[in-house]
């Protein structure tokens, strides 16, 4: 019997399953409609809308100070960076120059946020691949960052530390000491992470050559952040369009060319070292200065369009404000990194196994409220 005859005789049938909205690998309420043949995935169709809160519409109702608080709830793992993006856009519109002190503090907290976010991602990545222990290691270290935030900002996750024109209040007297303690401790923990997960042979087998995203695809789908940089697409906003204090620190943009899950993993792991380096450069010389530039109680942006892009832990976040000159914006649009990154998932997950899809999704580091605003 030839192969063709055999194939005609043994037929397989495609079927679909819902991966989510309640699924352990969805990290929230992402629903993926999978068309699969046996265990081989033929099509991945993301279905959004399970956590839509119409944040962009609510922004039209609120004043500029209030918008900042809404952005916490988008990408809750980089809430400080989201806040900063809005503040920078508003400051651009008002043509306020914030003091050096504000810039440096914002940058330090940005990088602490990035470390916290990457910690959580690392733990969850291990968990998605079946190694549950990594989660607890990551949370042990993330806890220290949250404590620093709690002391300075009053909140652990949705910090609301930025206001248009500066910061809500000055840093806590312990901030510098505790941050240094954390950095000193965290430096000893990253090798531990590598021993537990990075150097594991099963982990290599699960991630190397899985979910390959080429540079061309990354550019044409608008992929950004560590995901794009693992494909060799230099897209770091901190490097190309520096904001806050990023123009005065020395750091490397991590680039890999493989574009597979392991490359995305390595980019994030090495970004931890870069973040540490940035914090170390800034923490000892926080300049003195005003922590808040004088703004009016009711902020009115001049008529026009204002755009600000920042680099969150997941990629490029863009804030577009269209002002009609009133106390609240006429239109607001967020360009979230997760949405663009998700759009490429179907393209690179054809004819792979379910386990590969889970590994790929884990390496993309999706935060669903960011995708579905």
């Amino acid at each position: 019997m030839t192969d063709q005859q055999l194939q005609n005789k043994i037929k397989t049938e495609e079927y679909f399953i819902n991966m989510g909205p309640q699924h352990p690998a969805a990290h929230g309420v992402l629903r993926l409609i999978l068309t699969i043949d046996g265990e081989i995935i033929k099509n991945v169709e993301p279905d959004l809308g399970y956590i839509h809160r119409s944040i962009e519409k609510m922004c039209e109702r609120d004043s500029y100070q209030q918008i900042v608080h809404l952005t916490d709830r988008m990408d809750y793992l980089s809430s400080h960076i989201n806040n900063e993006a809005v503040c920078l856009a508003v400051e651009k519109g008002l043509e306020i120059e914030v003091s050096d002190r504000v810039k440096v503090i914002r940058t330090i907290i940005d990088e602490l946020t990035r470390i916290a976010s990457h910690c959580l991602w690392w733990g969850v990545m291990g968990m998605d691949l079946g190694a549950l222990t990594s989660y607890f290691y990551a949370f042990r270290d993330r806890e220290m960052i949250n404590d620093i935030f709690e002391e300075t900002c009053g909140a652990r996750l949705t910090m609301n530390y930025n206001v248009p024109g500066g910061l809500m209040f000055d840093i806590h007297p312990n901030f510098v000491k505790r941050t240094k303690d954390f950095i000193a401790q965290f430096k000893t923990k990253i090798p531990e992470y590598n021993r537990l997960l990075t150097d594991n042979v099963i982990f290599h087998k699960r991630t190397k050559g899985v979910g390959i995203l080429t540079r061309e695809d990354a550019i044409s789908f608008g992929v950004s952040g560590p995901t794009a940089r693992a494909s060799g697409f230099s897209s770091d906003v901190r490097k190309h369009h520096p904001y806050s204090a990023y123009d005065r620190v020395d750091f490397k943009e991590i680039l890999f060319t493989e574009g597979d899950t392991f490359a995305r993993y390595q980019v994030r792991m090495m970004e931890l070292w870069e973040s540490i380096s940035i914090i170390e450069q800034l923490i000892d010389n926080i300049p003195e200065g005003e922590i808040k530039a004088a703004t009016k109680a009711v902020i009115k942006l001049p008529k026009g369009e204002f755009y600000q892009r920042v680099e969150t832990a997941r990629g490029e976040l863009g804030v577009y404000i269209n002002s009609a000159g009133n106390k609240n914006p006429y239109r607001v649009k967020f360009r979230s990194p997760g949405f663009s990154n998700l759009s490429v998932l179907n393209h690179i997950s054809k004819d792979v196994l379910i386990g590969d899809l889970v590994a790929t999704m884990a390496s993309f580091d999706f935060v669903i409220p960011d995708i579905d605003r």
Binding site: E39, F136, N200, I202, F203, R206, I354, G355, D356, V358
Partner: protein
């Protein structure tokens, strides 16, 4: 089956059996004793299973920088008892359009096969329910039945995740059964008997089998532990219930006591795999270097339990350290690496015995 082969442990059981024989005719008495032993074993291993769950949680907590259960009873000792009570009193729910008969049958397949394997274990010289002369063969045969339960559960649940899990289980168990069987066979070459008690006795003089057969024995032990972990569907081979891929795999749609059967069976299977390893490689109930051989009051069963718990700890160590394999890698590992290695190992063992190189 020969009832006279039943060896009843310890003095108190001797008293009970004498009493039963004195009040009943012989046939009825032997049946009654069988039932009593069966009930005793059931209770013993249900409790043992529950405490293995507690041990797993404590070990996991230890690996994961946590404390683990510590609220119910001292050191959380009653935690799993409370969990079992909860599961017993829980409502049994199921989805519509299930195959009712197979759905209800499946958990019993799994749990009964796990308990049946217990019957032949030589916990100590006197503590063994059935000392049949094909003990090893019986164990392999019985432990294969469990997979039917898993397949039935996945098939009858009317759930696609459960079906994928069950199909994976079929792949996995059929593949790794070969390695389990062949690595046991390697050791049987060394002892020349399938009877578990004789396998243990063979180690009294020459030392543990893992030392007697040196290199091929060590290879066989490694293969056995890998394949045994796969047989029990535990991480890194827990594809059957891979929670980040399939929710809960084959037992997604089970609740209450039926879920508890699957859960308990996993831990009892782990106990079985470790027990086989202890009997075949580590001298069963014998003390290391005979250190307690002359101490009359020292219960031999304690050595057996210590060794088994040691191996169970090893399996838990696997689970809380390694990521999960992918389904194709699982099959590649078995058919391309473990099976050829195993076949070569048998030949190696045969040569070692032929040339009389055993220690």
């Amino acid at each position: 089956m020969n009832f006279t082969q039943m060896i009843i442990p310890l003095n108190i059981t001797k008293t009970i059996s004498d009493w039963i024989y004195s009040i009943m005719p012989e046939t009825a008495a032997s049946y009654t004793i069988m039932v009593v032993i069966a009930v005793a074993y059931l209770l013993l291993f249900a409790v043992a299973g529950l405490y293995l769950v507690l041990l797993e949680r404590k070990v996991a907590a230890w690996f994961q920088l946590r404390i683990g259960p510590n609220r119910v009873g001292p050191w959380g000792l009653l935690q799993t008892m409370a969990d079992a009570l909860k599961l017993v009193s829980k409502e049994l729910t199921s989805t519509i359009k299930i195959d009712k008969f197979l759905y209800n049958l499946a958990p019993y397949f799994v749990i009964v096969s796990a308990f049946m394997a217990m019957a032949v274990f030589p916990f100590s010289k006197q503590f063994q329910a059935f000392d049949i002369n094909i003990g090893v063969f019986f164990l392999i045969a019985i432990s294969s039945i469990g997979v039917i339960g898993i397949l039935l559960a996945g098939w009858s649940s009317n759930n696609k995740y459960a079906l994928i899990g069950a199909m994976r289980s079929g792949l996995q168990t059929i593949s790794y059964e070969l390695s389990v069987g062949l690595s046991i066979l390697t050791m049987v070459l060394l002892t020349g008997t399938l009877q578990l008690s004789e396998i243990v006795e063979a180690q009294r003089t020459g030392g543990w089998l893992i030392l007697q057969g040196h290199i091929p024995s060590v290879i066989a032990f490694m293969i056995f532990m890998v394949a045994g972990t796969a047989e029990t569907n535990r991480a890194p081979f827990d594809l059957v219930e891979a929670e980040s891929e399939l929710g809960a795999g084959f037992h997604t749609e089970y609740s209450g006591m039926k879920f508890a059967y699957f859960f308990l069976a996993e831990f009892i299977n782990m106990f079985i795999i470790s027990s086989i390893a202890v009997v075949l490689f580590f001298g069963g109930w014998l003390s290391p270097f005979g250190i307690t051989e002359n101490i009359a009051w020292f219960p031999e069963v304690l050595w057996f339990i210590i060794k088994v718990v040691g191996l169970i700890f090893l399996m838990m160590w696997f689970r809380w350290t390694f990521p999960r394999l992918r389904v194709d890698q699982l099959l590649t590992l078995e058919w391309k690496y473990l099976l050829p290695l195993n076949l070569m190992n048998i030949v190696l063992m045969a040569i070692v015995i032929w040339l009389n190189w055993t220690i």
